[in-house]
Symmetry: C2
Subunit: 130 residues, 2 copies
DNA sequence: TACTTATTAATAATAACTACTATTAACTTT
DNA sequence: AAAGTTAATAGTAGTTATTATTAATAAGTA
């Protein structure tokens, strides 16, 4: 089986379309939002395929699963390091171009956890909800 | 109706117990975890009451609803400003005593959102999952 | 006291996933 | 290339965490 360089998944037609559409969007859609978009290209696709493959693609490192508040997972096809801002009213997520870095002094925090990394998200109100 | 100073909610017996138990815990429990704890004191309490009142208490400013990853909401009775670290394996949340501040230079980020604040969470592996 | 409103326990309903199943497609071995 | 093996899919059932509904009760007010 031909494996891709990034992760050990085969890029099926469904996966290719999901990936392409996600990469074109700047809106960080939820799985169901993306389902309706992908459906226009592959009308027979199942919503379970979209959920499953968003997980697979993010596990394989093609896309990013956006953590942070909100009860729906969102996905991001932009692999450049960047920060997100979320609207506290409608939960939409947008990119912040500036890359935020944590000062050196926070590298050695007191905890019995094994620190792997951190996550900074901004929150505010989007133009639409103002 | 006697309103409390903080928010406009009446502190019923159920709410008092939920609040007290949460304040004693350092574990940032989920609603159902807290339900089983509170049940020992009020055996007849309904899980819906716990969910409803965790929302009510956080809306009224008595407790904090922890945002960030993981599919279950978690709650924190510690109103001091502090940072959280989450275990990527078991999703448990612990406090970091140091207060993390965002450098000045990030106060004017380029975005059409109205920035209200930010949220920093660390992630890592807890002693138990190591 | 009688009335009004808030809160509760219990349970039904919902939203967002996630697992299952039969089928098909892709790859591998003969 | 045929047969065998594994992976992926569509469709759908099931699950989990949460939210809404409802009838009963408790608290506050006139």
């Amino acid at each position: 089986m031909k494996k891709d360089k990034l992760g050990a998944i085969r890029l099926t037609e469904q996966r290719k379309v999901i990936l392409e559409e996600l990469k074109q969007l700047k809106t960080h859609p939820t799985a169901d939002e993306l389902y309706f978009i992908v459906k226009k290209i592959l009308p027979k696709i199942s919503i379970a395929t979209v959920y499953r493959n968003l997980e697979a693609l993010s596990a394989a490192g093609y896309i990013i699963k956006i953590k942070s508040a909100g009860n729906q997972k969102r996905f991001d096809g932009n692999m450049q390091e960047h920060t997100h801002i979320r609207c506290i009213k409608c939960n939409k997520v947008r990119d912040i171009e500036d890359k935020i870095e944590l000062p050196e002094k926070y590298k050695n925090l007191k905890t019995d956890f094994n620190i792997i990394g951190f996550n900074i998200d901004l929150y505010g109100i989007c133009p639409n909800c103002l």
